[in-house]
Every structure is written in C-alpha cells, then in structure tokens.
Amino acid sequence: MSGLRRALGLVAIEGVVVGLVALAIVLSSDHIDARAFQAILGLFIGWSWIGAGLIAWWRRPDNRFGVLMTAVGFAFFLSSLAAADAAWLFTIGVLLSAVYFAVFVHMLVAYPDGRIGSDRLRNVVIAGYVIAVLGPLPSLLFATPERLDCDNCPQSVLFIEDNGTLYTIFDVLTSLIAVVLVGYVVFVTLARFRDAPQARRRAMAPVIWSGAGLLVVLAGALLTEAVDGPEAISDATDLLGLFLFALVPYGFVFGVLRSRVLQAGAVTEFLHRIGDGPDPSDLRDLLSTALGDRSLQVVYWLDRPRKWVDAAGHPAVLPGDDDPARAVTRVEREGRAVGALIHDRSLCEDPELVGSVAAAAGLSIENERLQAQLRARVEELRASRARIVAAGTAERRRLERNLHDGAQQRLVALSLTLRVAQSRLRKDPDGAEAMIAGAQEELTLALEELRELARGIHPAVLSDRGLEPALAALAGRSPVPVAVEETPTERLPPAVEAAAYFVVAEALTNVVKYAGASQARISISRTNGHAVVEVADDGVGGADPTRGSGLRGLADRVSALDGTLELRSPQGAGTVLRASIPV
C-alpha cells in the first residue's frame, strides 16, 4: 500500500509541475485572448481532473477508472501546447489538442468499473483516439493562420498549401464522424446507467449526467462548426462545454460522498431495523434496501445435505466467479458459512458496504437458515413421500404383471391340459398319462415362480427367523461369493430388518450386474443406537448413485426411517454401500 501511496504522490507532483508549465506557456502566448483567465481556468480544470483521478485511483487501485481520470487531466494540459509560439510546439499542441477528449470518452465508456465491456465499445474508443488526432489535421495541412482567424498564430510545420476546399471537406467529414461517435457513446452511457442497480446509480449520476451533457454540447459544437453556424453559438457552446468539463471531476467526488452518506444512512437504518428482530420474510427486503439492489437474493447453507437453498428450502445455485452480471458475498458466523448474498456484480465496487451489511445480517441469516433448513427438510420429505407412493404403485404393477405372465398363465395351461387329459382318460389312457406328467412339470414351475415372487415381496424367513438366516440365504443365492461377516445377535424392529435386508439385496444385485467383483462382504452392526448396514465389494468401483431407480428407492426407504444412505465408489477401488438406520 505504501508503494501505491508513493507512486500516487509522484503522479501528484508531476501533475503540479506539468500544470505550472502549461500555465507558463499560456501566459507567455502571443496568440491567446484573455491569457490570464485562460491560464487560470486551464490550471483549475487540469488539476481538478488529476486530483479527482488520484482520489479514485487511491480508493480502487484495481479499477482503471482512476488512472483514466488522471490521464484526462494530463492530456488536457498537453493541449496547452497549442498556445506555444514556437511553430513545432504549436503544431504538436494543435495535433494533440483533442486527445484529452478521447481519453475522456474512453473513461466514460469504461465507467464505473474501469473495464470496456465489449469489442464494439473497444473499437469506439480506438476510433475516438484516431478521430481526435485526425480532426485538427486539416487545419494544420491546408489552412493559413488567417483562414483560421488567428493572425498571430505560428504557421503549422505540417502546412502544405492554403486550400479552402480540402480544409472544409476534411473538417466537415471528421466533425460528422465525431458527432456520430459521441452520439453512440451518450446512448451507451445512458443505457448502462439505466441498467445499474439503484445504489450504483446514486454514485454514478453526477458523472453520467455531467459527462453525457458535455458530450451533447460537444456534438452541438461540432455540428455548428461543420455547418459553419453563427460565431455566437459556437462561443456559447465552447464556454458551456468547458464549464461541464470542469464539472465532471467534482461530479465524481460528489457522487462518492453522496453514496457514502446515503449508504451510511442505509446501513444505520438496516442495523436499527435488524435489531428489532425482523420477520424473516423482511430480511431480504431490508438487505435489498440497504444495498440498493432490488435483484438481491439471500441463500442459506445447509450442512446436511451439503447444499445451498433459498428461503423456501428449494435448492439454489450460486453464480460462478466468471458470471458477468451476478456476484456472491458469503456470510459467515464464527468461521462457519451460514449463507450468502447473491447481488449485482457492480456492488463488488463497494466491498466495505456489502461486507458490513453482510456482517450485520449474520445473526438474522443464521436464524433464517434454521427455518430454511426446516423447509428444505419438509420439501425433501414431500418429494420422498411422492417417490415412495410412485414406487409402491410401480411395484404393485410389476407384481400384477409377473403374476399374470408367470404363474397365472401356467395354471391356465394346466387347467386346459387337465381338462383334455380327463376327456381322453378312457379312450387314450397313455396320451392322458403323458398329459398329466406334463401338467405336473408345469405345476412345479408355477410353484417356483410363486415362491420367487413371494420372496421379492417379503421374505418369510426374514420375518420368521431374522436377518442372519435371511442374509445367509441371499448370500447363498448370489453368483458372486459373499461373506456374511457380522449380523446382530438380537432381533431388530421389523421395519429396520426389512430395510436392512433390501439394502443388502439391492447392493448384491448391483455387485452382480455392474461391479465385476470377485467377492463381496456383508456386515450389519449396532453402533450408537443405529443399525449400520455395509455391503462392500472388490470390483471396478465408479458407481453412479444417480443411476437407475434402485438406489434412489433404497435411499427413500432408509430416509423414511430417519436413516442415511452413503455410497463410496472410487474408480478402480471397489464399492461400499453403507446405510445407517436409527434403532
């Protein structure tokens, strides 16, 4: 910071020296009217710009706006060279006499964040510099001092010939191009002002209005000159333009002070009202008013599950660092994230304001976070209840389909076969016997299908004998070798046993289908009032928890018992599915 202070101090000294040199040049000029007035006015304007620029530079070293503002002041002093009596200095002075205006346009286009928003605007700025240098060129190339109504002016060192036609054509052409450019910049500047959040507008207004006003006056002056209008109008616009130009840096300082005062008022008001313990629904409105950003959103951080939600408990997404329009200020309490403010990116220009408001809102956001957590939980429960109902319906449909296509069809065929066999019993006993043997096989298959179906609904061995034999049976039927390492010695509540059983059954199905494992192990232990079910395999890992509905259904089933389901499946290092259910 001290490096910056030293650098800015040096720039300030340079500004003083350059200003005094410009003052001397104007005072000693042979071709300037009202020298003392012009010299003092010029010094006042140049130093105002450099001074205000240094303040802006000091406040926001990262923002190039301050640099540009300072540069306008220096470029303004540069134009004083046009008052020099030496021909070559005079020529350089006239050639660069409008550059300060191009820097001003550059600054306005980059206001308030110091960045030029688009390639088109960049081209506008470049065109501004080009036209600023080209504009005075016709007067240097094709006009004598007499033609320019300045008999005492030195002859330009670039003078080619006195040619009224060429001078007028080039002069009118460059003036018209300048008018179009200036008009476009006014339009862009006002549009940016219109789109800025209210708090920014307060700070921007003085610069924008004086800047845009100045540009309009300039456009008027250029047009008057281009059409060779009355001298009185030209003089009046020149004077008005100079006045507005001197006003811009003070507009900037005024804007900063005003926004400081208003912001301080807004923060005080905010602190006062937040002290009353506002209704949570008012919190956003209070923050929005204090920061002057109607688009402000408050989001809350939940630890379990780890995610951002809005006040209604719906999942929220934070804008990224590269988002051009939105930015995030995180709110912490005792080093812990409790929430975040999502606001217009331009508020990043006032980090102290946003920071102090965010800090003051910490406690309220913490309180509101608990509400949001509750709402998120309700939301999650509602969704999981809907999923459970849907899963139940789908399961019933599947059972009906399986019964219809399986056992029922076999029994129908069996009934028909027996009827035919019965009718043939007397005249074709051998045929009838073969038919009855076929019917026997059909019946065995039908019974097997019914058993499989019943086991899928609820395994009888689980209700009758508990988890140990039920898991052993599951392990025994699995094509991948499964070791049952631990099961509880006592019976658990039926709902917990059923959930544990189906977690294992689904996990083993996945092991067989996807894991490519050579073995798996199951354990169910009682830890801290929870039944902890773990199924691990040595397969390929990389399981996606969002794949298929099986895991989602299991998570709902476990969550309905207030339990949690976790999947750890690093690529190439096996998969562990772990459910923890309160007992």
Binding site: H404, D405, Q408, Q409, R410, L411, V412, A413, S415, L416, T417, R419, V420, S423, R424, E442
Partner: protein
C-alpha cells in the same frame, strides 16, 4: 371339419394348450399369432371363421385389434379371452365388436360353439 380358428396370444404355453383343446373339440386351428400386428396380418392371409383373441397383447391392445378386424365388411367372428375376470373389462368386450368372452381357464370347443350359435 369344424370351423377354422386363429389363436392370438403372446404366451406360447397357452397357444399350445388352446390348440390341443380346440382341435380335440373339432375345431380346425389354421394359425397362431403372438401379437396384434401379426394377428391382423394372419387374419387377412388365412381368412379364419373365428379368431380367439387375448386381451393383453405386447403391441396393440386386444380390444383395438378386435375393432380393426370387425371394421371390415366381411370379417371373422372374434371371441375375446383372458386369464383375468371378464368383469375387469366392463363394457369393453361388447363395444369392441367381439361376439363374446371366454375365460382362459374355461376354454373349450363347446364354450366357443355356444358363443357362435345365434
């Protein structure tokens, strides 16, 4: 020779049993179809006098198949069948243009013949 009949059902075991039952009761089973689309094709090709049509087919619903068959001027008599109870289908059997319904487990030549007699 009894009436010619086409059996339409997606379960092969039922088609086989139905063929035995109907043939032993004097019907001439001229073909079998496993879904609605092939049922419509076989109907045009074989021109059976009777179609025994399962309600639940994998592609087109049995009642829709029935409507399409009976929409032709000269069409076979369609008898719907299912392992479900006929009451499950409400008025669909009569509105589809079918001549009647036989539960699968009760299928016999005699039952079919009864429905065919005016």
């Amino acid at each position: 020779m009894g009436p010619t009949i086409l059996i339409v059902d997606d379960h092969p075991s039922f088609r086989a049993s139905a063929r035995v039952v109907l043939e032993s009761d004097g019907f001439s089973v001229v073909g079998e179809a496993a879904d609605g689309a092939s049922a419509l094709e076989e109907c045009c090709r074989l021109r059976p006098q009777v179609v025994l049509l399962d309600v639940q087919l994998p592609d087109i619903d049995g009642f829709d198949v029935c409507e399409r068959i009976t929409s032709h001027l000269e069409h076979p008599t369609v008898i719907m069948t299912s392992s479900r109870d006929p009451a499950d289908f409400g008025p669909l059997v009569t509105s589809s243009g079918a001549c009647g319904f036989v539960p699968k487990a009760e299928l016999s030549g005699e039952r079919v013949q009864e429905l065919l007699s005016p």
